[in-house]
């Protein structure tokens, strides 16, 4: 069971349109099965929350899942649709989930 208590909104946005400090979950993607499997193995799947550390408008995007940071090319990030979550502290990407436990999103 997830330790997070997200309150997803119905809005879906491409990952590239999220701002720094935004928290979101993966809603869907138009990636190939192989790419999806790679991202899932790296820790980015439909059930996990992540924080945007570097917004990907026009450039690479950096997200943080627990203690891990992933860099995504704009082309890849554009094809990932996200569902933004409520966030208590959007000022600092690394402090957005003060009570999260690594790996508990699985």
């Amino acid at each position: 069971m997830s330790a997070f208590s997200p309150h997803p909104t119905p809005l879906k946005l491409p990952l590239t349109q999220l701002k720094r400090g935004d928290r979101a979950m993966v809603a869907s993607s138009s990636l190939s099965d192989e790419d999806k499997a790679t991202l899932r193995a790296m820790g980015l799947d439909e059930s996990c929350q992540f924080t945007v550390c570097r917004a990907g408008s026009g450039g690479p995007c950096i997200i943080q899942i627990d203690a891990m940071r992933l860099g995504l090319s704009p082309d890849l990030a554009r094809r990932i649709m996200t569902r933004p979550c409520d966030c208590a502290d959007a000022n600092h990407c690394a402090s957005a989930t003060p009570d999260a436990i690594p790996g508990a999103h699985l």
Partner: protein, 662 residues
């Protein structure tokens, strides 16, 4: 459910117990391997695989153990070369690499992901031990991971270890030994996602504070290093320093190697009687060893500095900065480092393409890397640019810069063409785990460098040495008789020597002997197999304006480009000299049989373009074959670069002639 017990090493009774190390990338697996094995390790390639593993030995409690450091993987079932290699190793499909037991390395800051990989590995049913790494980083984040509870939950030994600091190595070794001796009790089939969740929650404690100071620092550094402008500046400065180090710092050991080989050659020449054996040993073997070892300093420096940079966590960010530029030409961001390194020498550049995970990306980078102007080309550029623009430093400088630009443009356009033709297909999407920023592990970097140097000498080095000996033989045989003119000069020198020892006489003797030597070498060049091949192929190079002598010089410079200068000075000049302007003047005065200038502007410009683009470096072909996985890639690289060089040299010459420049 208990997995079936596997017998230990069924191959031979006295073979060491083999432990395969598996884990996610960036979990400190290689640091542990280096701690366990030290210098007793080597890189192992497996047929059909583009990734390699390192194999090393260690003595634990008196027992010899062999460790296999498999490449980091996120999952075993992915269609990626590293996942396939791990699958094949665990299934015993790699010849001589069936593991008796497995050491799973798990990052304490990313326990869930490590446990998912553990789940798929445990299903192999082999004895297991777990090394829990990065606990220092976990502590910095306010996390504490209970290795005892994790060990109980997994049913296998679980030891906290840190390869960088060298802590926990002995308990880990004992755990590995115990795991090999005990029946595996791990609960592979029961590791469901819910179980992983529960295990993480049960094993991780402490005041969790994701948002520690280290994260804020990481945020700031990431913001700077991945910024479109600032990140680019930092990257260029870093690469400039790297390039400077490879280009300049390697000069001292390179000169030392050349001097040492020259001294050894002179010593052997003074001991052995003149003849074929002396020629073979001095010019063939010692010359070949010198031609091989001289690359080592650049290779070692590049790999050492890259290992340090990679360890700091910066290189992953740099790849991101460059990706937005490189992707337009079908290359990944990681390709920038090999391409830049190739400006010093294509050999370490090509070897450093191992940083690139995708095979097509990597092959493309290998194929285009030799287009970048390496240091060996500089001598030829200086010579031809000086002949072309003897009185204009500005134009000479511009032409020199244009050579570098032409090479880079040719590389990028060729890369784009490759990705649309022979290496078509979707490359791996640019998604990288950005490891935490840390101080580099110098010990690990040194071991990696040592390993790469050994690999170079063992594989490419032996080929390069063989090539050097064959090329020496082609240029030394059949031996020409000393020309009558040279004999006459020697006789005259002896007469002058007998007549007196005045300063004028000494200078005249020196000139006479130098001229005699040049005539003898010229006769040998023309009479040798290389000379005969040059004359036979001259019609093919005639459209570029090359006569017999230029064709011989171009062909002999396939050994290394710098040979062009020495060959030309022997064939048409007055012998080699350290003075670039004197050599250029000599060559500029050289004439053809019809009295016209040999180095007319059209021919010189065409030749310059040819040298920018042609792959005249057999050692590079040897390394390409080694790194790309076959001589067909080396043949393709050679064919394409030679074709492009020939075509553009021809066009350049015709354009200069059409403009009426003479």
């Amino acid at each position: 459910m208990t997995a079936p017990t596997q017998p230990l090493n069924t191959t031979t009774a006295f073979a060491p117990t083999r432990i395969a190390m598996v884990g996610n990338p960036n979990v400190g697996k290689t640091s542990l391997f280096n701690r366990l094995c030290g210098v007793r390790a080597k890189t192992a390639n497996f047929p059909g695989s583009t990734v390699d593993a390192r194999i090393g030995t260690s003595r634990i409690d008196g027992a010899e153990m062999e460790f296999v450091d498999l490449p980091g993987v996120y999952a075993l079932d992915l269609e990626l070369p590293e996942s396939k290699l791990c699958r094949d190793c665990l299934a015993g499909r790699l010849e001589g690499c069936l593991p008796d037991a497995l050491l799973v390395v798990i990052d304490a800051t990313n326990l869930a992901r490590g446990l998912r990989l553990y789940r798929s590995i445990a299903s192999a049913g082999r004895p297991l031990a777990v090394a829990l790494t990065m606990t220092d980083l976990a502590r910095a984040r306010g996390l504490s991971v209970d290795s005892q509870r994790l060990s109980v939950a997994l049913g296998v030994p679980c030891v906290v270890a840190n390869g960088r600091a060298g802590t926990g190595i002995e308990p880990l070794a004992a755990a590995i030994r115990n795991a090999c001796e005990a029946s595996p009790q791990h609960l592979a089939a029961s590791l469901s996602s819910e179980w992983i969740d529960a295990t993480v929650v049960a094993s991780v404690g402490g005041p969790n504070s994701l948002g520690a100071e280290s994260d804020r620092l990481t945020d700031r550094l990431d913001a700077a290093f991945t910024h479109p402008i600032l990140g680019g500046i930092v990257f260029l400065l870093t690469m400039a320093l790297l390039f400077f180090a490879i280009y300049r710092l390697a000069e001292v050991p390179m000169t030392a190697i050349e001097d040492a080989c020259a001294w050894l050659g002179a010593f052997v020449a003074s001991v052995l009687p003149e003849g074929a054996l002396r020629g073979l040993i001095v010019d063939g073997v010692i010359g070949g060893v010198s031609g091989t070892l001289v690359f080592l300093p650049q290779i070692c420096l590049l790999f050492f500095l890259l290992a340090l940079l990679e360890d700091t966590g910066y290189l992953a960010r740099a790849a991101f900065v460059m990706d937005r530029i490189m992707c337009r030409f079908g290359l990944p961001g990681q390709a920038f480092v090999p391409l830049l390194s190739s400006h010093a020498c294509a050999l370490p550049g090509i070897m450093s393409t191992r940083l690139i995970p995708d095979r097509a990306d990597r092959l493309t980078t290998i194929l285009v890397a030799p287009f970048m102007s390496c240091s060996a080309r500089v001598g030829v550029y200086v010579l031809l640019v000086t002949i072309l623009f003897p009185n204009s430093g500005l134009l000479a400088g511009l032409a020199f810069a244009a050579c570098y630009a032409l090479g880079a443009i040719a590389a990028l356009l060729t890369a784009a063409l490759c990705r649309r033709t022979i290496l078509r297909g979707k490359s791996r999407p640019m998604v990288l785990e950005l490891p935490p920023y840390r101080l580099p592990d110098v010990r690990s970097a040194l071991l990696t460098t040592f390993d790469r140097a050994k690999l170079f000498l063992r594989s490419a080095g032996t080929v390069i040495l063989s090539i050097c000996i064959v090329l020496w033989w082609l240029s030394a045989y059949p031996m020409a008789e000393t020309p009558a003119a040279a004999v006459a000069l020697e006789v005259r020198a002896v007469e002058v020597e007998a007549s007196g020892q005045s300063d004028e006489a000494v200078a005249e003797i020196e000139t006479l002997r130098h001229d005699a030597e040049v005539l003898t070498m010229r006769a040998q060049q023309e009479h040798s197999f290389a000379g005969r091949i040059g004359r036979a192929l001259q019609p093919a190079f005639a459209p570029l304006g090359l006569d017999d002598r230029l064709t011989i010089a171009v062909l002999t410079s396939f050994l290394a480009r710098e040979v062009f200068r020495s060959t030309m000075t022997v064939l048409v000049g007055q012998g080699d000299s350290d003075d670039d302007n004197k050599v250029a003047d000599d060559l500029a005065q050289a004439t053809r049989a019809d009295g016209s200038k040999l180095f007319d502007p059209a021919t010189s410009a065409g030749l310059l373009v040819f040298y920018v683009l042609a792959l005249q470096c057999l050692p590079t072909l040897a390394v390409t074959a080694r790194e790309a996985g076959g001589w067909k890639w080396a043949a393709l690289q050679f064919g394409w670069m030679s074709g492009v060089a020939y075509a553009l040299a021809f066009i350049t010459r015709e354009a200069v002639l059409w403009m009426g420049i003479s």
